[in-house]
Amino acid sequence: MSVRALWIIKLPVGDVDGNVIFERSFPTVEKRARLLTSTDNYVTLPEENQFYDAVATELGLNVQSTQFVKSRDTCLKILTQQKPVYEITTVEGKLWPVIIIEQHGLLFCCLPLIEDGNNKRPPLVTLPGVSVGFSLLLHIADFVGPQPQDVDQNSPKLIKLCNYLCYAMPFGTPMDLNVSTVKGCIDSKPIHSVPSEKQPAWKPVLMKGGKSHVQFVITENVRAVLYDSHTLNDVWEVYGTVNCKAELEGIPDVTVNLSVAPNHPPLDHLIVHPCVHTADTDESTGNASIPGSSPGPRRLRFSPPLENFVLCHYTSSHIQKLPIRGCFKMKGDQKSVNLLVQLKLQENVKNSFDYCELQIPFHNRGIIVNIESTTTAGTVIVGPDKHRIAWNVGQRFLGRSLEVEMNAKVYFKEYDASKKSEFIHDLFCVGLNAYAQLFFKISDYTLSGCFVDQKSVQVYPSTKTKLTSVRELIVSDYKIWNILGDSKMAFPPPKNMLS
């Protein structure tokens, strides 16, 4: 489960070449690689520049993705492809399995040690190093975060990364990757008294004094694609995370119920933080079959670390109705289009928005020169890039019908495809192929009905604890396709196809 080397690569931007901005190798692991690998299979680590060139070739970093480059794009690759694991061809031979993930315009790469070196290409599932390497990269990516474009070897964050790695994996075998605990350990002050009971490694610093406080934050996302058509069903997904920050003295246990409101379907399986000891992670139907009753709560018992952490991930796949239904009609030509958008808020959905805005981007057209619009609520403006209009619906859907409508006519300048612009044109959206995008956020509400039952929270050993619980519903992607044009879609699973 060790790593032979890791690299961070800055991606090329425009005419500026990319390069390796961070490199770390581990000689003792390398020595094991040499000892454990048969001579035919062992490939030495390349120098920084060679590694960059090899990665650039494999990923085709220097050629636009719209061009077909055989070395990168040949369909033969499907037979060997194992993303996010790659084979990198260097002067010395083929390095495998190089794990590469991209985040914030940087590539994070590492090469785990294969301990059974006689088998050239064992399946990834037999390699402990791959899961460790992958999780290492996620932590490093998290640690580094977004960087300015001119980031280089001596950027402060990368110098700090060196400290972090020296603690987290001095010899190339990660022992603790959690950024907060590593920081806690490095900064920990010498103590003179010996703890009377064993202190866990994931809580190197204990809270002393101060008020006990446990906070839960449920962030629920909804994403949907609406066709408003007889032949195509609308699709949507509802999922979320529960974050927790527990400022508690000592190393207490916390128990909490994650419940859903009445008349809501139960959550699907949960995926929980490793600090959770027991949890009803599997889907249970509870007594949802009885109308008006709620499914049984999901009980979680855990020993929280001091930092903010994701207690669990959930999905809710049985939600019957979308929060907002929509219809989008657009017709016209390259010079101008007529639009009609209707939105209807579902009953039972909380009618109080932090914001609710509909945007219509116009791809493969010239900039907007004029717009004439009428709405039943809110205002319409042209976006700063002049390639989209935005309709601010307001904080509430008014009237008993809970419906709002926008009519507009938009005029465009002639389109010159060769002209460079910041706006990225989706080449699918030509002619009447178009969509509207809805953005909204509702505080203190979840579509799944999921909430933290404050009464159920128990802290052991018991202390007087302040509890807060916050929840919100946010759109991650909400598209409404023009019913008069073509739309992107997926093939729905046929009912009872296989029986």
Binding site: M1, E23, P27, T28, L35, L36, E48, N49, S65, T66, F68, K70, D73, T74, C75, L76, K83, N118, P122, P123, V125, S131, F134, S135, Q153, N154, K160, C162, N163, C166, P170, F171, M175, D176, L177, T181, S188, P190, V194, P195, K198, P200, A201, R223, E237, Y239, H269, I271, H273, P274, V276, T315, F428, N433, S476, D477, D486, A490, P492, M497
Partner: protein, 938 residues
């Protein structure tokens, strides 16, 4: 001011570190220092108080990572370790930097095999580590103790068993340590436990019943010091051994009592909640091994762990479930557990809040889902318990990324079996492509289109003998009809199918249909997408099985079409010619004679570009004058390999088509010959002064001659050429007509190839006096050491011409030494004195390359005398005795024309060497050479 200087120093170091990492060799060459010097600089910086710890940490990392380059021998390792230990002791607070000194020392000691080379240093260091870690529950130096455990663990991993006799001590410390670093003790403990158990299993002979319990419960020796066993050999704690034995099939003898082991195991399991995910993963990896070796231990120990891990977000912990499944399978998991794991895996793959690559890994694992103990997950297959209930999860949705879509389609194509009467599976599989196909249909190039073709190839690979192939065929045709711009990708698809299934008829069928589509298309459509259609035709023309007449008639039509865009006539003409060439090459020309002739004729008479007309005429000539067979061989022989044969085009055209082409030169992969240095002849340099040179002008004349261009004395070296041991050439073979080529670099004049009539494997089997010899003359332009690549070309017994490379030749700095010349009527002593004085007088001049230098060597009088006799006798101009001390004057010419004069004055402890040279660029080389002499007398 001081602060600014400090800042500058730090950023200079950071810059140097970055440069060194980019390329150590270039950095050292450019910064005019060598490895040793750089290490000294680093160590000095570590002692310095002006440099921040963050910079020092970077320097330590360089020492840790690049010690194989930086530390050349045991002495430098010893010195570096000594200095690092001092730095460690002088650093008083418990910091990352201080801890990393220990890590660096451990790495260097392991990397340079000091346990074998200098066991004392290694053992001393281990004692330091044991001493540090033994102070359990000390709250003042937790991080140092943690690192000491890590270092010991790394040593134990590299030398399995070295800490076996300390197992009980470590076990006890684990139980007592209460601070947050307890997990490091635990990790060390399980590492040593696992290695000890493994050694017990591997021990030949009977184990007594209490062997294991005693290891865990009795102290056999104190914690310190480390005592190497009397029978210590390098193999004793060697890692390599392990992989050769198939330990997994071996078990601990059943008579051995495992009570203590069980107790230790449950202790570790109980402590698992105290560990971080990564440490827990490491510990469990070791424990899983242990349990699999001992029949008395039940895998059920891991049941609660399994339930915990199967729901966790942390990837390595979730992965543990698969590891347990693969290792223990039915012993630990029921069928319903298997279903549970599978359900969880599918769910992970579909949870949007997890990272995208995380999901991709889950799909990858699903394809190698461990099913039974014997199964090594090698082949791709879907788990047997994956059924209809799960299939819905593999339908790509609008929310999936391209990679996730591909991964899902891959699994779906394994779940669905085409071939049923209803054709439902085919329809579903093709239907699922819609998410990718939509954009392609609108001509959107890029990743989506690439993915679509990949998915199609994957379908084909999985279901090549089913009705699905017909669907794929129609689908691809449909793409080209709608969007000819995907011609290149379609051709790539055709070639990929051909590559994986050469027998398949799909490529020909597809190309034939594409040809039909092209020739029957409206000319205006063709002209709009001409380059794409020509690409298709070019590929079609390669196929022997497709009749080309239609294609050629179409080309004629195209050529006479008035709408042909002549702006790009050269590239267009090239495309057309490539098609013609492919037809010429791959077809029997009798069948296409008229049509091809017509096309070429139109091109050579009417085409608007002279280059195209010329080449068309050439092809036309070939077509009308040569048989198909000859044509094919001519066009084939354009490949570079065939160009190397001496067959001329004329002989091809006039000779018989049955003429067998000579085989190309064969490149031998292994080196079969070697050059061994026999002797270096000390070539004397001769300088003849013009007649009547007056004594006052001798020096002037001498310098004039030696500085002239024509003056180029050679370094002559004779080599034995012999067969390398174990070479593949049979014993009685001879090699004929050998040509030895030495590749020189820019600092040396080119060398003539050496010719050897034949080489007998009998006489030249070893590098002895009976060997064939070659004498090489090196003419440097600049006196610098160099390495020369050598290759040899020869004919073997069967008449084949072969070529192979030899081990490169090295020419060191001292190889370039030549003695001062003898000049009539002018002794070498006089020459020495005159040149010395001349250089001395010139060295102040800014435009002269003359320089003086002094160097002192730590060599006693006797040592210097032996060294000089051994190394420099031919160059001694004068040795005089002054107060019982021998003084030497050494005069050397370095070709082409540099002088190196030295006066060596030994004293009891050191020797002082005054140096003058008229080429100051060689001073670093001289310096290195002299210090080498010193090192030979440690």
């Amino acid at each position: 001011m001081a602060a600014i200087g400090q800042q500058q120093q730090q950023s200079q170091w950071l810059e140097d570190v970055a440069k060194f990492r980019r390329s150590p060799q270039t950095f050292l060459a450019k910064s005019d220092t060598d490895e040793e010097g750089f290490v000294l600089d680093i160590l000095q910086a570590l002692f310095s108080e002006n440099i921040g710890e963050h910079v020092k940490l970077q320097l330590l990392c360089i020492l840790q990572e690049k010690s194989d380059i930086l530390l050349k021998d045991n002495t430098s390792v010893e010195q570096t370790i000594g200095s690092l230990r001092n730095v460690f002791e002088e650093t008083d607070h418990d910091s990352i930097y201080k801890n990393h000194i220990l890590v660096t020392m451990t790495t260097i000691l392991i990397q340079h095999e000091q346990l074998e080379q200098q066991p004392k240093i290694f053992i001393d260091f281990m004692d330091v580590l044991l001493n540090l870690m033994s102070k359990i529950n000390n709250g003042l130096n937790r991080n140092v103790r943690r690192i000491a455990c890590e270092c010991l663990k790394e040593i134990e991993i590299m030398y399995p068993g070295i800490l076996s006799r300390k197992l009980e001590h470590i076990y006890a410390m684990c139980q007592l340590e209460n601070t947050f670093i307890g997990q490091s003790y635990m990790a060390l403990f399980v590492t040593v436990l696992k290695n000890s158990l493994e050694r017990l299993i591997q021990t030949n002979g009977d184990l007594h019943d209490n062997e294991l319990s005693e290891l865990l419960s009795t102290r056999r020796e104190p914690l310190k010091p480390i005592i190497l066993p009397d029978n210590f050999t390098t193999e004793l704690f060697s890692m390599k051994e392990k992989t050769h034995r198939r330990v997994s099939s071996e078990k601990l003898a059943s008579n051995v009592d495992t009570k203590e082991l069980k107790r230790a195991l449950s202790f570790v399991m109980e402590s698992s909640s105290l560990m971080t995910s990564q440490c827990l993963f490491y510990v469990m990896l070791q424990l899983i091994e242990c349990v699999s070796w001992v029949d008395d231990l039940s895998p059920a120990t891991f049941k609660s762990l399994f339930l915990h891990c199967a729901s966790t977000t942390t990837l390595p912990l979730f992965y543990l479930v698969f590891l347990l499944k693969a290792k223990f399978c039915d012993q630990l998991f029921s069928a319903s557990d298997g279903d549970f794991i599978l359900r969880r895996l599918i769910m992970y793959a579909n949870t949007p809040t997890l990272q995208h690559s995380y999901q991709l890994l889950c799909y990858e694992w699903l394809l190698h889902f461990p099913q039974s103990q014997v199964d090594d997950c090698q082949d791709v297959c879907i788990p047997s318990n994956l059924d209809d209930r799960h299939t819905d999860a593999f339908f790509p949705t609008v929310f999936n990324s391209i990679d996730a879509t591909l991964a899902k389609l891959n699994i779906l194509s394994l779940c669905l079996q085409p071939g049923s009467q209803s054709g439902l599976a085919e329809a579903t599989l093709m239907g699922c492509l819609v998410s990718l196909h939509k954009s392609v249909n609108y001509g959107v190039t890029g990743p989506v289109a690439v993915a679509l073709y990949k998915a199609l190839l994957n379908y084909y690979e999985k279901h090549q003998n089913t009705a699905l192939v017909e669907d794929i065929y129609k689908f691809i045709l449909g793409i080209i009809v709608e969007q000819p711009k995907f011609a290149a990708q379609t051709i790539d698809f055709v070639e990929s199918v051909r590559k994986i299934h050469p027998e398949s008829s799909l490529p020909v069928d597809l190309l034939r249909a594409l040809l039909e589509h092209t020739v029957s298309n409206k000319m205006s459509t063709i002209l709009d997408n001409l380059q794409h259609y020509l690409l298709i035709l070019e590929r079609v023309a390669e196929e022997k099985e497709i009749k080309q007449n239609v294609l050629l008639i179409f080309l004629q039509r195209l050529l006479v079409s008035s709408d042909l865009n002549i702006d790009e006539r050269w590239s267009l003409g090239n495309s057309l010619l490539r098609i013609c060439r492919n037809v010429l090459h791959h077809r029997d020309t009798d069948l296409v004679f008229t049509e091809l002739g017509d096309v070429l004729y139109i091109l050579m008479t009417n085409y608007n570009d002279i280059d195209i007309r010329d080449r068309a005429r050439f092809y036309y000539a070939l077509l009308t004058n040569l048989s198909s067979q000859k044509l094919t061989s001519i066009l084939t022989s354009f490949s570079p390999v065939a160009m190397a044969t001496n067959q001329t085009l004329t002989s091809l055209v006039t000779g018989s088509a049955n003429f067998q082409t000579a085989s190309p030169v064969r490149q031998l992969d292994d080196t079969i010959l070697q050059l061994t240095r026999a002797e270096k002849k000390l070539n004397s340099v001769s300088v003849t002064l013009p007649n009547g040179t007056e004594s006052g002008q001798i020096l002037e004349e001498y310098l004039k001659i030696t500085q002239s261009k024509g003056f180029s004395p050679a370094v002559v070296v004779t080599y034995n050429i012999s067969f390398k041991e174990g070479s593949s050439i049979p014993k009685d073979d001879k090699l004929y007509a050998m040509v030895l080529h030495v590749q020189t670099c820019s600092n040396y004049a080119q060398m003539k190839d050496q010719e050897i009539v034949f080489l007998d494997n009998h006489d030249s089997a070893d590098s002895t006096e009976s060997c064939t010899q070659v004498t090489l003359e090196f003419h440097p332009h600049e006196p610098v050491p160099a390495t020369f690549d050598v290759s040899v070309l020869f004919s073997n017994e069967s008449g084949e011409t072969c070529t192979t490379s030899l081990t490169p030749l090295q020419l060191s700095f001292e190889d370039l030494f030549l003695p001062l010349p003898d000049i009539d009527g002018y002794s070498r002593q006089q020459l020495f004195n005159d040149v010395w004085n001349f250089i001395h007088s010139q060295q102040g001049n800014s435009d002269s390359a003359c320089a003086e230098s002094v160097c002192s060597l730590q060599l006693s009088q006797e040592m210097i005398a032996t060294t000089i006799t051994q190394k420099l006798t031919p160059f001694i101009v004068n040795s005089s005795t002054q107060d019982t001390v021998n003084m030497y004057q050494v005069g050397i010419i370095l070709p082409p024309s540099s002088h190196l004069l030295m006066k060596i004055l030994p004293s009891s402890e050191t020797a002082v060497i005054s140096i003058v040279t008229d080429n100051l660029r060689i001073l670093p080389l001289v310096n290195r050479y002299l210090h080498q002499l010193e090192r030979r007398h440690p």
